[in-house]
């Protein structure tokens, strides 16, 4: 196991290296440059060129890469061109929101997707199943911003139950009460993902319930509910676990639309805005971190398989 983990970390490092090169070349292919965005509409080309030179943006790409990679290895991701602050700080600032949002969203997904998926599987073929599956598909096909805008209109501007937007950190006054800011966004974000998990749960429940060992369990004389929970579900969740991991990773880095609608200071929005402003260090840093996140989650998913499924040998 230890050796396995070390091996995996080695492979991850290779992936990371490849990814960092891809990131770097990818980003520098994007036309436009941060300096003209920074200097604004009135700046003349000479001014732009001068500032580019002063900021080292006219060096050959590979030189820039080496400098960046060298610093990144020491944990220094550079400074944001736009914010003038260290990229690590920019990421750390977004991370709180993104992680909490993803966590709360995962709670919704688990609370809604899994039980409803189980229900649909148990009642397979009945109108309950059809209705629930239909609902899931519906949720999966509504654009997030639509849901988000309506949630704000109804629950924030209309009823005033929840704050409309923004998110003050829970560490800076307000405490856990600030989580209410994430309630509406997490619902908007959870809708399509819960639908996916629901469908996955249902499908794998059905798959597992056709397995021979379920018949064995039923022949033991234990209650049907126990068969479902202890035998079918436990095995069915194996298939859902990896979806969980990757949904979580995606929720952290890809909640751009939700973050935009709800004005949340999350990573997704940071990086999209950074692309629009060509804030290279931030884009590179965030992608690097999300790639790491993906690799870590990948590893965790595989390790959790080891815990959940004794057949998996590491």
């Amino acid at each position: 196991m230890g050796r396995y983990v070390i091996g995996r970390i080695g492979a991850a490092a290779a992936t990371l290296f490849a990814a960092s090169i891809v990131i770097f070349s990818f980003i520098h292919l994007i036309p436009g440059d941060p300096v003209s965005v920074m200097l604004g509409d009135a700046a003349t080309p000479e001014q732009v060129a001068a500032l580019r030179e002063r900021m080292g943006l006219d060096e050959p790409i590979w030189v820039q890469y080496l400098v960046w990679a060298g610093n990144a290895l020491q944990g220094d991701l550079g400074r944001s061109i736009f914010f003038e602050t260290p990229v690590t700080q920019v990421i750390a600032d977004g991370a709180e929101t993104s992680i909490l949002l993803a966590l709360i969203t995962m709670i919704w997904i688990v609370l809604f997707g899994i039980p409803v998926g189980i229900l649909a599987a148990i009642r397979q073929g009945t109108w309950i199943d059809q209705g629930l599956s239909g609902l899931a598909m519906l949720l999966a096909s509504v654009p997030t911003f639509w849901v988000g805008l309506y949630l704000i209109l109804i629950f924030a501007a209309g009823l005033g139950w929840f704050p409309s937007s923004g998110y003050p950190s829970i560490f800076e006054g307000g405490g856990l009460a600030n989580l209410q800011y994430l309630l509406l966004p997490s619902i908007a974000l959870a809708a399509p993902n819960a639908a996916l998990i629901l469908r996955l749960t249902r499908a794998s429940m059905l798959d597992v319930s056709r397995e021979d060992f379920v018949r064995t369990a039923r022949a033991k004389g234990i209650r049907p509910s126990r068969v479902v929970l202890r035998h079918i579900l436990r095995n069915a969740l194996l298939a859902v676990v990896s979806a969980f991991g990757f949904t979580f990773a995606a929720l952290i880095s890809e909640a751009v639309v939700t973050e935009t609608v709800f004005a949340l200071p999350g990573i997704g929005r940071t990086v999209v805005q950074s692309i629009l402003r060509r804030d290279y260090p931030v884009i590179q840093g965030v992608i690097l971190v999300t790639v790491c996140l993906y690799l870590v989650i990948n590893l965790l998913v595989d390790l959790s398989y080891r815990l959940l499924d004794p057949r998996v040998e590491l």
Binding site: A14, Q130, P143, F145, S253, V256, V272, T290
Partner: protein, 283 residues
């Protein structure tokens, strides 16, 4: 022949939901094909005096902030929806399938290719799309390419899994024992047996491509908005959510219903391909 047709129509007809979904998709297809005849106005006819009109007899779905007829735009929108959907699906399949199959058949190559897919997958997907669009410039084709790239990875992974399983199927082995080459095995054995998971994946990708395009539009980077697309209409008119909510309702409904119908049809197709289901329906 009739019997063959029945095999296809039966799973649809036996579920009212599926029948409705099928019907809706046919309507969408008709809209796309015959848009100029169905739409009462050109989709880009600007009429600022009559902007933001609520639905009435002259403008079934009302007018948008240019005074363009929302109904006509929704009808034309079907074209772009299909274009994006079909485009993304074709791209994802055309690139994901060979990658997946090659990786499964040649493990050495597979290790490299799947690593690369991993790298791609580890990038935030919307971001990848966004970056590509910025690099390539905005446009329908580029949006298709960008979204297609996201689904290339998932498709390649699925195909890889299936191909890995099919590769060790006894009938593939049997073909190999007769001296069949790789091309033969892929063409005659692997591809045909991949059809049903691919169909489900395709219907899923089709639906999500619409949402992806809508999200790109939302961020202002989708198709050039003078070509109407539903996602675009939705994103463009989203500030009218309170003032003229019908502007969002119709395109939103179209996206939802199309995605929904496709999902339903995807399910039907999968069931149709599932031998267990075939057994149940009788031979």
């Amino acid at each position: 022949m009739l019997g063959y047709l029945r095999v296809w129509t039966r799973p649809v007809v036996s579920r009212p939901l599926a029948a409705l979904a099928g019907l809706f998709l046919i309507v969408v297809l008709c809209c796309a094909l015959f848009a100029p005849w169905i739409a009462p106005y050109p989709p880009d006819q600007i009429d600022p005096v009559n902007r933001l009109l609520p639905p009435d007899a002259a403008h079934l779905f009302g007018t948008d902030h240019y005074g363009r007829d929302t109904f006509s735009r929704a009808v034309y929108g079907a074209r772009l929806a299909l274009l994006i959907g079909v485009g993304v699906v074709s791209f994802a399949l055309a690139s994901g399938v060979p990658i997946g199959i090659l990786s499964a058949l040649y493990p050495m190559l597979g290790r490299v290719l799947m690593r690369m897919v991993d790298v791609l997958m580890s990038f935030p997907s919307l971001l990848l799309a966004l970056g590509l669009i910025v690099i390539l410039g905005q446009g329908v084709l580029n949006a298709i390419l960008a979204i297609g790239l996201i689904y290339l990875t998932t498709t390649a992974r699925i195909v890889y899994g299936v191909a890995l399983r099919l590769r060790s199927e006894p009938y593939v082995e049997a073909a190999r024992s007769m001296g069949a080459g790789t091309l033969w095995i892929v063409r005659r054995h692997i591809l045909p047996n991949m059809v049903s998971p691919l169909l489900v994946q395709a219907s899923f990708v089709f639906a999500f491509a619409q949402l992806g395009a809508a999200a790109l539009d939302f961020l202002g980077l989708g198709a050039p908005p003078e070509i109407p697309s539903w996602g675009n209409m939705l994103a463009e008119e989203r500030i009218y959510i309170t003032r003229a909510s019908w502007l969002l309702l119709w395109p939103g409904l179209m996206i939802v219903l199309t995605a929904f119908s496709l999902n339903v049809m995807g399910d039907v197709l999968r069931d149709r391909m599932d031998p267990r289901f075939r057994e149940m329906m009788g031979k």
